[in-house]
């Protein structure tokens, strides 16, 4: 290729670059700040953001549809895989929704164990987010430290459930295993450790100047916006509105161990940081209290394979906010329809609102201020009907496809 054609191509490329004052900038689908593929089309004016257009659906797995072809029990494991972080919240939301269709009473001990796991999960999810704030603001050290401390919580989760992430612990009628012997001191130690660290991080986040300037006043929303756009979870509570499913509609053992709803008033990222630290502390308290009051007895009741017909709605307070399940049964061994609304879906509109008027440098921290879980949000489109099909693309075929694709593009 001669230099002349190169420069011609460059001229043609100038159109693509859009040097207009209102530049378009892709944020995603694959971007280092996003842990999961999602596309946000940002309209920029210099560094300032004018508009945000989300386009979701890059990680659709067809879970709602797939659920209709599986039995009730198999779906517990399926729904757990909607999200890696709040897997237990998904499984208990589904399990309790189904339980509410029947007359079975869940043993008290099972309720307590569910509470303990759910709160451990909340701690690990919040710590994960706090660490990631460090990553998004370029403070790698904070990220490493918090994740290092999060390991203590994950170790306890592994000791109780057998796995760090996909716990596969909840089932209909209780939990699948009792708490292991001698877990109480370990749990107490872990919560004590986490509390100490939280104290340190709170002091760090108030005193570390670079972190303060990056979070204070950034991504501000007020109560009016929050009421209009209905975010859920910490994003709502950081504006001062006290809503928490655990208190208002207690599930598991939350009617006996009542959590205190923490709120902040500022509605910015700094208040989200403080709020999540508060909630981690509160969760530690709940775990301690639950372990103290832990009743003796069964941890599980036997459950039938077919569920009586009816419709049930259920929601839990996942670490990210209200997680909503709608279950419809026609009395068979398979659900007729399961609808899942994850917190991220509810928070997406608010995040869009939060971003407007900020600079590009704020995008990662604001966009992820809602603790997004895009994998949770996208569930449906492409699905694999049953077994026997392999969708593996062999390396050679992929290479051929790539060559052909570029040839076609060059030709057109």
């Amino acid at each position: 290729m001669s230099e002349a054609t190169g420069s011609e191509k460059r001229e043609a490329g100038a159109g693509l670059m859009e040097y207009s004052p209102e530049g378009l900038m892709p944020f995603g689908p694959v971007h280092p700040a996003l842990k999961e593929p999602e596309y946000f089309k940002l309209t920029l004016e210099g560094e300032r953001i004018v508009d945000v257009a989300p386009r979701i659906g890059y990680v659709h797995r067809g879970i709602e549809r797939a659920a209709q072809d599986r039995t009730w029990v198999k779906n517990v494991y399926l729904f757990e895989r909607i999200c890696g972080i709040c897997s237990f919240a998904h499984s208990i939301a589904y399990a309790q929704g189904v339980e509410s269709l029947t007359e079975f009473v869940i043993p008290r001990r099972a309720k307590y164990i569910r509470l303990v796991i759910a709160e451990l999960e909340r701690i690990h999810s919040h710590l994960l987010w706090l660490g990631l704030v460090g990553h998004w603001t370029g403070f790698e050290t904070l990220f490493m430290w918090i994740w290092k401390d999060r390991e203590h919580v994950l170790d306890q989760l592994e000791a109780i459930t057998g796995n760090r992430v996909h716990k596969s612990f909840a089932t209909f009628g209780g939990v699948r295993k009792d708490l292991p012997e001698g877990i109480e001191p370990k749990l107490a130690q872990a919560t004590k450790f986490v509390r100490e660290r939280v104290k340190y991080y709170r002091q760090l986040m108030e005193s570390e100047e670079t972190l303060v300037v990056r979070t204070k006043g950034v991504g501000k929303i007020d109560q009016n916006i929050a009421r209009r756009l209905c975010p859920v979870g910490p994003l709502l509570r950081c504006t001062g509105i006290e809503r928490d499913v655990r208190v208002e509609d207690p599930y598991a053992a939350y009617d006996e161990i009542v959590p205190e709803v923490k709120t902040q008033t500022a509605g910015d990222i700094a208040s989200l940081l403080a709020l999540r630290l508060d909630e981690v502390e509160e969760s530690c308290r709940l775990i301690d209290e639950a372990m103290e009051k832990l009743p003796k007895g069964d941890y599980k009741v036997l459950f039938p394979r077919a569920i009586p017909s009816g419709e049930a709605m259920f929601h839990v307070e996942a670490p990210r906010g209200e997680l909503f399940y709608f279950v419809k049964s026609t009395g068979s061994t398979k659900p007729e329809r399961v609808k899942i609304r994850t917190p991220t879906m509810a928070n997406l509109l608010t995040a869009k609102e939060m971003l407007k008027g900020h600079t590009l440098a704020d995008v990662p921290v604001v966009l992820t201020g809602m603790d997004p879980c895009f994998g949770c949000m996208d569930r449906i489109t492409v699905f694999d009907p049953g077994k026997g099909k392999e969708w593996t693309v062999r390396g050679e075929a992929l290479r051929k496809y790539g060559i052909e694709y570029y040839r076609r593009r060059a030709g057109s």
């Binding site: 989300p54 659906g57 419709e311 709605m313 329809r337 509810a346 509109l349």
Partner: protein, 151 residues
């Protein structure tokens, strides 16, 4: 409080049915906006949880979920599959935008007045126009895959 929903239902020509933990108002699709407005204005309600669509064969029923305390409430409207059109509630509940877009993508229900109408939210851009929406009973994954040229 009992009675509130009945009065709403009476004014909108709808019926109230009760489940174990929830109450349901069934209304005609045209009255959905009024019904949602009335329910969300009741004391103690604060947000629209989500919008669910259910394929009943000839009809698609659309649920609007609300909750208060320990109770769930839902507004339900059935639209026919031949002309799946329902007024959008985004004017009264702005948070419904994405939920409506999701249902529109997956069930082909048209929400008249939704700001995201005509834009895809979830489905891939290559999803064939003449294929049935993926969550309806007519949708056959194998056929859709063929239409998309994935086979």
């Amino acid at each position: 409080m009992p009675g509130e929903l009945e009065s709403i239902a009476a004014s909108l020509e709808g019926q109230v049915s009760k489940g174990k933990k929830y109450q349901l108002i069934s209304v005609k699709p045209q009255r959905v906006v009024e019904a949602c407005k009335a329910v969300s204005a009741l004391p103690g309600f604060y947000h629209l949880s989500t919008i669910t669509a259910l394929d009943l064969g000839k009809e698609i029923s659309v649920y609007y979920h609300f909750w208060r305390g320990r109770e769930f409430f839902a507004v339900r409207a059935n639209v026919s599959k031949d002309n799946p059109s329902i007024p959008s509630v985004t004017a009264v509940l702005p948070s419904a935008t994405l939920y409506e877009a999701e249902v529109a993508d997956l069930f082909g229900v048209r929400f008249e007045g939704n700001p995201m109408t005509g834009r895809k939210l979830l489905l891939p851009d290559t999803y064939p126009k003449d294929a049935p929406p993926p969550m309806t009973r007519e949708a056959d994954p194998e056929k859709i895959r063929k239409m998309m040229g994935l086979e």
